[in-house]
């Protein structure tokens, strides 16, 4: 158990290592690839294994299911053949016991027996009595005249003399119909022997085979031990021809083997040996017929496998896309927040430093100012002397420099103050004019017409001056970038309702597509390619939100863009 747990942890670590990709340009690409490999492997491999196991199991069970009826049929039919032949044999044997030699020598009696046999049983053709010692036909009833014919040199005569009974292979006989012969020997107490022999039409064999009810593609036939057809085969030859299949001899059960027939088709061969005579029943079924269901199942299985694989692939691809893009967004947001924090941190420390410097410089500056002022006063109150004018000029230039320093320290202090977010009561119209001051030069140079439509009695609002300056500067910068030289930008302010004032900045520049419009406030979205960071409008959006306001954009391609900022009169910001 402990070992298992340890293994599990190892796997976990390895997995983590697999998914932790190095920080680089295609980090997300690699992450997505690794996730896909892992997920596909984890889903497709079990699927493939399941499919393979199912495939083999189905194949096996289906084969059994299909073959067992063939097996059964072969068994049954073999018994029928066996029964048919045994019955005939027993019949002839019985006759040989019921009648005496004298009875049988009488053609009338023999004829009567044959007549009865023909009437009650199928297939009897003739009946003959043969002398057991010399092989001469003593008496015969049937379609031929065979009395006096000698059989002493024939094989069957030898066999029946030896074994007492005999069943022949199928032969054509005199009428060119397939027949078999059955003979029994009777030994009398006085040592005399005689043989009763009958010929049977094998039409019954064909009937037995037809009774199997095989389909058109299958075949069944009987072979003797030399492999000669004893019945007609539909596909492989006529009676008494050599069978193309070799059937292994021996065995008392029914066997099924897979073989290839002379036409090259794969077939199942079911065979069973009769105990007596030495016949073999063979059933031939082509693979395709047997396994039709299996092929259908196989294609179903394959289809299900394909569809589920495709589904898995689609899901995995979609899922990893979504996941990785979420991760990327989260990373970007974190990075942006971090960068903003760093930026504001930097600015605030610069601000503190600036404030400190300005403060320290201010006092000595005040002293210089007063000292120089005093000298100037003293010179003024002194009667004229040599170079008095020059002294006064020099002092004036010292004082002017002091004033310049004063402006610088004041600006530094102002900058420091802007770093701290500070809500004050301000006039939006004034603020807008201040911001425009930054852009005047460029507007003049490019001959851009900036029209102001400012509400005269616009209420003052509580908001952050520095932040709002940045907001409007960003929007105006974008407007300036969008318009051609000699373009137009109009700025309107109005009181929207009791709590809100609004300001709109509209240009007649290139405008944006709906698609672009939807994304402009997203961080890192830019249309300026190398020149933009994609941060300007997202920061703008962030500030307006922070100040409790809203920002709207409306744009039409090649007609212009209109930004509207709504600001609350009373500060709602949580700064």
């Amino acid at each position: 158990m402990a070992l298992n747990l340890k293994n599990w942890f190892n796997i976990k670590e390895r997995l983590q290592r697999f998914l932790e990709v190095e920080y680089s340009e295609d980090r997300y690409h690699n992450l997505r690839r690794n996730m896909r490999i892992l997920m596909i492997a984890m889903t497709i491999i079990p699927l493939v294994l399941m499919a393979l196991i199912n495939y083999h199991q189905y194949q096996r069970s289906l084969k059994e299911e299909i073959l067992s009826p063939i097996n059964l049929l072969a068994n049954k039919t073999t018994h029928s053949f066996q029964f048919f032949l045994k019955e005939r044999l027993s019949l002839i044997k019985s006759i040989s016991y019921f009648y005496t030699l004298d009875d049988l020598c009488d053609e009338k009696t023999l004829n009567h027996i044959l007549f009865t046999l023909k009437k009650e049983f199928v297939g009897f053709v003739d009946l003959g009595l043969i002398n057991g010692s010399d092989g001469t036909q003593i008496c015969y009833v049937g379609p031929y005249s065979l009395v006096g014919k000698n059989y002493a040199n024939q094989d069957w005569f030898q066999e029946v003399t030896l074994k007492g009974t005999y069943i022949s292979n199928v032969f054509m006989g005199y009428r060119k119909f397939p027949h078999i012969a059955i003979a029994v020997q009777r030994l009398q107490q006085n040592g005399q022997s005689w043989i009763l022999r009958t010929t049977i039409d094998t039409t019954m064999f064909d009937n037995l085979i037809a009774a199997m009810g095989l389909d058109a593609e299958s075949d069944a036939f009987v072979l003797n031990k030399e492999g000669i057809f004893q019945t007609n085969s539909r596909l492989y030859g006529k009676v008494l021809e050599q069978c193309p299949f070799t059937i292994p001899p021996g065995g008392y059960s029914t066997y099924v083997v897979e073989k290839q027939d002379p036409n090259g088709n794969d077939v199942f061969l079911a065979y069973a040996h009769l105990t007596y005579p030495d016949y073999t029943l063979v059933i031939v079924k082509p693979h395709s017929a047997v396994l039709k269901a299996w092929y259908a199942l196989k294609s179903d299985l394959f289809f299900v496998f394909l569809v589920s694989s495709a589904l898995i692939l689609i899901v995995v691809f979609r899922l990893t896309d979504i996941l990785v893009s979420r991760i990327r967004e989260a990373d970007q947001r974190r990075e942006l927040a971090f960068r903003e924090l760093q930026h504001s941190h930097k600015l605030s420390s610069i601000g503190r430093l600036a404030a400190g410097v300005a403060h320290e410089v201010n006092n000595p500056l005040a002293i210089i100012n007063e000292k120089a002022g005093l000298i100037k006063d003293l010179i003024k109150y002194t009667p004229d002397f040599d170079q008095k004018e020059k002294f006064l000029n020099l002092l004036e230039s010292i004082l002017q420099s002091v004033r310049r320093c004063k402006t610088i320290t004041h600006r530094l202090l102002g900058f420091a103050k802007r770093m701290e977010i500070e809500v004050e009561n301000l006039d939006l119209n004034e603020l807008m004019k201040e911001v425009l001051g930054f852009l005047e030069r460029e507007a003049l140079y490019r001959n851009i017409d900036i029209t102001l439509d400012l509400a005269k009695d616009l209420p003052r609002i509580d908001s952050d001056r520095g932040q709002l300056q940045q907001v409007f500067l960003n929007i105006l910068n974008n407007a300036m970038a969008a318009v051609q030289d000699e373009g137009r930008i109009s700025i309107t302010t109005w009181e929207k309702d009791a709590d809100t004032v609004a300001i709109s900045i509209e240009d007649n520049g290139c405008g944006m597509s709906e698609e672009t419009c939807r994304y402009i406030f997203e961080p890192f979205f830019t249309t300026k390619k190398e020149h933009g960071t994609g941060l300007g409008l997202s920061i703008t959006y962030g500030i307006v939100q922070k100040l409790g306001g809203e920002i709207d954009v409306a744009s039409k391609e090649n007609q212009g863009t209109k930004f509207t900022v709504y600001l609350p009169k009373k500060s709602k910001s949580k700064i």
């Binding site: 403060h359 006092n363 002293i367």
Partner: protein, 123 residues
């Protein structure tokens, strides 16, 4: 014209002495204090018409001194000198009763103008 009596309060001695001299040149009676305590005791001894008070001082801050001056005699006018660029201190000071505020370094003419205005307020 009556000579204006002024008290300059600033911890920067060089600054106050020079400024005092310049104001005296303009016919004003100027006294000097370099911290809040000193200023308060001088006011109690001989109240001036206008006090020019630095906000940033060690010890008693300008704001505290302002409150105490107003407690001694609300008629004494106080002009604040703020080193900060911030107008916040100035506005706060005015809420506490200061007459006005100026940002250091000051222009002498501006200071004199404010002093004269303040003096008019002294009944």
């Amino acid at each position: 014209m009556l000579q204006l009596k002024i008290l300059l309060v600033d911890d920067e001695k060089e600054f106050v002495t020079t400024l005092a001299e310049r104001l005296e040149l303009r016919n004003m009676h100027v006294e000097i204090a370099t911290d809040g305590e000193m200023a308060l005791s001088m006011i109690e001894a001989d109240p001036p018409q206008v006090v020019v008070l630095d906000v940033m001082m060690p010890g008693l801050s300008g704001m505290e001194v302002l409150v105490r001056i107003k407690a001694i005699d609300p008629k004494i006018q106080v002009i604040l000198l703020t080193g900060h660029g911030a107008t916040k201190d100035g506005i706060k000071g005015m809420q506490l009763g200061a007459f006005d505020y100026l940002i250091k370094p000051v222009d002498i003419d501006e200071l004199i103008e404010k002093l004269n205005e303040a003096a008019k307020n002294v009944v």
